[in-house]
Structure formats: C-alpha cells, structure tokens
C-alpha cells in the first residue's frame, strides 16, 4: 500500500465559497440551456404564440377603459396593453423550469452527489434560480422583437425601459425560488411538469395581464389588485409608457413598483429558506 497523498487546496475566493459554488452550478445550468436548444426554443415559442393569439384573436374584443377610441382603434391599444401582460406571464412561467430542473436532478441522483460535496448548501438552489432568471433575458429579447413587429412601442425612454426589464428579471428570480421549493417535493420529473404549472394559471389569469381588472366581478377585483403579477404588469406598463387602463384604488395599484419590490423581497425571504431546508433533507429516489 502506498501512502495516501491528498489533493491540493485552493485559496478562498474574495467573495467566499458560497457565491463561487453558486456560480459553478449556474454555469452548469446555463450550459444545459445551450445543449438542449429544443427546450429554449419552445420556452420562447410559447409566449410568442400567446402574443399572436391575444393580439389577433381577442385584440378587438377587449376594450381598454380610459383609452380614446377616436385616436387609435381598440385592437392597436390592446396590443400596447397586452405586451407587458405577456412579459409578466412569461417570467412567472419561468419558475416551472426550476421545478422540473430540480425534480430531474433529484431523480438522476445528482443532488445526492452535490450534497456529499463540501460545498455551500444553498449553492445548488442559488445557481438554479440565477440561471433560470438569466435565461429570461433571451426570452424577453425575442418577445420584445415580436411585440415591436406587431405594433408595440417603448414610449417612455430607454432608462425606464431598462427599469422595466430589471423588474421583470427580479420577478423571474423570485418565482424561480418558489418553483425550486416545489421541485424538491416532486416524486419524479413527470409530476413536476404538471405541478410546476398548475399554480401559475390562476396566478397569471387572476391579474391585469390580459384583461382590465375593472372587467372582473366585484369579488375578484381585490384579489387581482393585490396579486403581485398585477403590480408587476402595471409597473412595466407604466415604465414602458403603455396604456394602463383604469388604475384601482388599492395600495398595490397606486404604488406598483414599490409593491412589486416588496413582494419579491417577501417571497424570496419565505421560499429561499424553505427550499434550502428541504434541499438539506432531499435524497434521490
């Protein structure tokens, strides 16, 4: 028997191992995105189809209160109104990728290996949420071009538009934590595919994303007004200079940017610790 010689150690990076480990995992998740172009393609095609369906099928049928039909036809106003709604819906649906991704990692046993490594325990989830949000940059770019082609415009300056995109990405990052937390409970990737999506339909449709809140029954309106997606969409409409419809009296409607930021902070504050705790107990099945 030869004597055992250990591997050399590396100096601690400036920002600590936690962040280093998180970026190593994020890099892995982003490489996956490039290696499975089909997945990226369909995650872009889906919202594009939504844009086209809503713009051309429902477009003329949904009048936006507060807009003046004599200056522009209803359908044109609706397209301006619609795009921020589609953006909001798209970044919310991005969380499904986190759910499925983590369920797959557990199913394949790679989570077991990560957990047996001397790495920071939040790193796998940080890397996952970071990569899933970063991927949305590309999705939002393609969607924006689609929007521009059908008549959507950025009408309130470049700086505000940058704020709008930043808010959307922050929201994508936030829901990725919720999606991750769900993913860690999934028995297999197939279930994750469904479970990752079910909660998103009511969440996005009970909002101002596609129809004005004023068109909903009275009892639904408060729910929609306090839905963070509504404030996100309203804030982006504001920042892009798109029509907002009639703004409700509820506080989130009056302070959409602030409410969106608070929602994101609260949701990450709840779901990140829950997900990390679950991760520490998770093992492959």
């Amino acid at each position: 028997m030869t004597t055992y010689t250990p591997a050399p150690a590396r100096r601690r990076p400036l920002l600590g191992w936690g962040l280093h480990d998180g970026f190593v995992v994020a890099r892995r998740n982003l490489i996956q995105t490039i290696r499975v172009p089909e997945l990226l393609f369909f995650s872009i095609v889906q919202p594009v189809i939504f844009v086209l369906l809503f713009a051309f099928v429902f477009g003329g049928a949904i009048p936006i209160p507060g807009a003046d039909p004599s200056t522009a036809p209803d359908a044109d106003v609706y397209r301006q109104y619609l795009m921020p709604g589609i953006f909001g819906q798209t970044v919310a649906f991005a969380s499904a990728a986190s759910t499925v991704g983590l369920a797959e990692d557990m199913h394949r046993g790679i989570i077991d290996r990560f957990r047996s490594l001397p790495m920071a325990s939040g790193a796998v989830l940080f890397g996952r949420t970071f990569a899933d949000a970063a991927r949305q940059i590309l999705v939002l770019a393609v969607l924006s071009i689609t929007g521009l082609l059908i008549g959507w415009r950025i009408s309130d300056g470049v700086l505000n538009a940058i704020y709008a995109y930043a808010l959307l990405l922050l929201f994508a990052y936030t829901v990725a934590w919720i999606g991750s937390w769900i993913g860690l409970y999934m028995p297999n990737p197939e279930t994750a595919n469904t479970a990752g999506l079910v909660w998103l339909f009511p969440l996005t449709f009970l909002s101002n994303a596609f129809v004005p809140i004023t068109a909903m029954p009275d009892w639904l309106q408060p729910i929609a007004q306090w839905n963070p997606i509504s404030s996100l969409v309203l804030a982006t409409r504001d920042l892009f200079g798109n029509p907002t419809g009639i703004i409700g009296d509820a506080w989130p409607q009056q302070n959409p940017i602030l409410y969106t930021l608070i929602s994101c902070a609260v949701l990450v504050g709840i779901f990140a610790p829950l997900a990390v705790r679950r991760y520490r107990q998770a093992t492959a099945r």
Partner: protein
C-alpha cells in the same frame, strides 16, 4: 493501522420500516471493505449516513475522525461517493462534468485540469471526453461517475452497488479500476448484493441483513464458517428434485436445499470425493436420473443461505 470508518449502534427508521437496527462497523484504513446483503438489508442507508446525506435516528459514526452528524463538511472533504445511479450531468461533456465537481471540491483549476485528463485516460474516456453524456453508454456513464468521485483524491471512497445494471464486460472493467484504487492508498467501502463481487474485491466482508451485521471476516473465514464442501446435483426432471433431496439427506451434514426451478439440489458434505460416489449410488437407488453432479467449495451464496436461512438475491 487505524480505523478510518467507525459506526456504533446506527438505527434508522422510515416510518414503520426499520432500515438499520443497531449496525456496528469498523473499517481499517487502506482496505476494500465489502458490505454485503440483499435488497432492503440497509446497505444504502448505511452509505447515506456515512456520507452525511442522512441523519441516523440514534447511534454515531465517524469518517477520518470526523463525526458525520456534527462535522458533515469535514467529512465531505475527505470522501467520494458513487451511488446506484450515474450521478453526473447528462448535458455536459465528460470533461465539463469533472471540472464542475473539481470546482465544487474547491480544488485549484490547474490541478482539476490535470487530474481530469489523468482520470479520463485511466477510465478509457479520453476519446469521449468532449462529447455530451447523452452519447455515452451505461458503462461509460458509470466510469465517468466513478471518475467524478475520484477527482479530489478522496481518502475514503463509497461505492454503492457500483456495477448494478452493467453488462458483464463493463463489470469486469470496473472491478479492475477498483483494485487499482486501493493501490493508491484509498479506502473503499463497497456495497453489493453480488456475492461474487464481494469475493473478488473485498479483503474483508460484513454481511448484513435486516439492518444488522450478521457475520464478518475475510471471504475464506466466512466460507470456513459454513464448513465443508457443497455437493450440487442437477436432476433431469424438476419433479424429482425433492426425491433427490430425500436420498441425499443421510449423506449431508446439514440441511439439503432444493431449487425446483433450476432442478438443483445442494447438500453440505464432508469427506472429499468419496462422497461423490456415495451420492451417485444413493440417487441411483432412489431411481432419480441426474444431468450433473459436482463437488465444490462453498460460495458466499452458501454462506448467506446458512447465515440467514434465505438466499441473498431473493426478491422481497
């Protein structure tokens, strides 16, 4: 030589199911240690506790002197784990996988690069190193999985049923690699339900069943424990297996076992080749035609059967 793994009184329940029922284990440094048992015996649970993935309900364990519950990160620095699945990333290339795990072990990048090339070469994966794992065969994935667990030169390597699902050729290849590892000074804890595998690889074997250690020692010691040789008869017709067992009972020095499906009757015997003649006479007198009769040393299968009263690979 010191003990690199110790476990005392490990207990783990999953609801009503008792996975571990007071398991004790001591593994000396620099050996291949075999954990042998059927499905559900508690092998994987033991490995998961020792690799910090699972906390025991009671009992304690140390790896390289570190308590697995209190000092999980110190334990993680010195171990490598290869589980029952190939726990590698499907979409990365072989080299990218090794780089990722090397980075997560906090090794210097230059070292990771060098070590990856060395491991890819050793596992015969150099040609496939820059291809996505989606193009790999099952055996190649397993080899890469093993390479990934070796990237940080672990002091202790845990192999949980490393050859399950592999074809015989890949299995032989992997056995060769495991033998090489020990030559480098790594301690290997290997779980398997293949008795042949434990026999081939492990210097010392612990047999576990229902979450407890029921026997331990070298393969030879375990075989001696069973005593004597085995007389194995294949009868021509399955229906006559029990008749053959009756005929052989007076010659046997223990219980005669019958496997009707395989038309196999096995009897523990002593007395060398003379027994063979006696057996053939007894079977002839009973009117049982036979296809084959052999006298052999007991295998670990026989060890398991005599220790537990049931076969090692029976389905639960």
């Amino acid at each position: 030589m010191s003990d690199i793994i110790t476990a005392r009184g490990l207990v783990k329940h999953y609801g009503d199911v008792v996975a571990l029922d007071g398991l004790d284990l001591t593994v000396p440094e620099g050996t291949v240690y075999g954990l042998l048992g059927p499905n559900g015996a508690g092998k994987t649970t033991t490995v998961r506790i020792l690799t910090t993935l699972l906390k025991p309900d009671s009992g304690s364990a140390t790896v390289d002197g570190f308590d697995v519950v209190k000092k999980p990160n110190d334990v993680r620095r010195v171990i490598g784990l290869t589980g029952q699945y190939a726990a590698v990333d499907e979409y990365l290339t072989g080299r990218e996988n090794l780089r990722m795990f090397g980075d997560l072990y906090h090794l210097p990048p230059a070292y990771v690069k060098e070590r990856s090339a060395e491991l890819l070469d050793r596992f015969d994966l150099t040609d496939a190193a820059d291809r996505s794992l989606r193009t790999y065969s099952g055996g190649m994935r397993r080899r890469l999985d093993l390479a990934a667990s070796l990237i940080a030169k672990p002091r202790v390597l845990f192999l949980d049923e490393p050859t399950t699902g592999l074809d015989p050729r890949s299995r032989l290849g992997l056995w060769g690699v495991i033998k090489d590892l020990v030559a480098d000074g790594t301690t290997v804890l290997l779980t398997t339900q293949y008795l042949e595998e434990a026999d081939q690889l492990a210097e010392e074997i612990v047999v576990i069943d229902h979450g407890r250690v029921i026997a331990k020692g070298t393969s030879d010691v375990l075989k001696d424990q069973v005593g004597g040789d085995r007389l194995e008869v294949i009868v021509s017709e399955a229906g006559q297996a029990n008749l053959a067992a009756e005929a052989l009972a007076p010659i046997a020095n223990g219980d005669v076992t019958v496997n009707v499906d395989e038309r196999r009757v096995t009897a523990p015997v002593t007395g060398g080749s003379l027994v063979l003649v006696e057996a053939v006479r007894a079977l002839d007198a009973a009117g049982v035609p036979i296809d084959d009769v052999v006298l052999r040393r007991p295998t670990l299968d026989d060890v398991f059967l005599s220790l537990t009263g049931h076969a090692a690979e029976e389905e639960k």
